[in-house]
């Protein structure tokens, strides 16, 4: 159901985003606006606690636009960047970055992931491995499952938050499409 006004659409979108992030951190999200475009971000990256291993650092930048929809208003994601870093010799090094920024790069409109890895093929960091659209909830589950990031609430609570917010994300998606990712 569309929001009744711009503020409501704005608040709803930011709330889902913040609630999902609260599963792994208590850091306040920075937000800014320019016209009808909004940005939510963490700068500097926030430290994530793990069950084992050195801490990881999370950097997120998400933009969205609030626009009229179906007699009300709706917030639509316009780009995202979810990055994971580790500290090496006192400096943060990005090891994986999930991106989607169609308006910024005319020849690179598909969601993709960059993975830092030196292989026989060379550095993979500049390759754009295609992905599906990734929600912040998908990314956080990935961190919890594969990087042992420690959720702040207990299992049933964080699972319910991420499931509910992902469901909301898909229910409001305006990007479901059959077209090839790379054209």
């Amino acid at each position: 159901m569309p929001a009744r006004n711009q503020n409501e659409a704005d608040n709803n979108f930011a709330h889902y985003f913040r609630e999902s992030l609260s599963v792994v951190t208590n850091a306040v999200v920075t937000a800014g606006r320019e016209g009808d475009e909004r940005v939510l971000l963490y700068e500097p990256p926030v430290k994530l606690q793990r069950k084992q291993g050195d801490p990881l650092f999370l950097s997120v930048t998400q933009t969205y636009r609030v626009k009229p929809h179906d007699g009300g208003f709706k917030a639509t994601t316009t780009s995202y960047s979810y990055e994971l870093s580790v500290k090496k010799d006192g400096l943060l090094e990005i090891i994986a970055a999930f991106h989607w920024h169609p308006a910024k790069t005319a020849k690179l409109k598909w969601p993709h992931v960059h993975i830092r890895g030196n292989t026989a093929e060379g550095d993979l960091g500049r390759k754009h491995f295609p992905t599906a659209r990734i929600s912040i909830e998908d990314f956080l589950r990935f961190l919890i499952r594969d990087f042992d990031v420690k959720p702040r609430p207990e299992y049933a609570v964080w699972k319910e938050i991420l499931t509910r917010n992902k469901r909301e994300f898909v229910a409001n998606a305006s990007w479901l499409d059959w077209k090839p990712l790379i054209s």
């Binding site: 951190t25 208590n26 306040v28 999200v29 920075t30 800014g32 930048t61 960047s81 910024k104």
Partner: protein, 78 residues
């Protein structure tokens, strides 16, 4: 479970100048240049400067929010 663990993280709406500080901080961390230098480079070379370099897409995103749009073009009186 302590109540604080259920609390939704806060949000802080900031001004353009604070976003400019965030841009500067990030540019120094990922590229070793100031935010102003990145803005000039991005304005000159556009999306080509984002070609897979880690951390640059976020900088370009922030540039949109830090750009000063209030300046008027100087025009000659006729």
């Amino acid at each position: 479970m302590p109540k604080t663990q259920n609390r939704v993280v806060g949000i802080k709406w900031v001004s353009k100048s604070k976003l400019r500080q965030a841009l500067d901080s990030r540019a120094r961390r990922v590229l070793g240049v100031s935010g102003a230098v990145f803005e000039k480079q991005y304005a000159a070379s556009g999306p080509r400067s984002l070609d897979g370099k880690a951390g640059t897409v976020e900088l370009a995103t922030l540039c949109f929010f830090t750009k000063d749009r209030s300046a008027r073009k100087k025009s000659k009186r006729s």
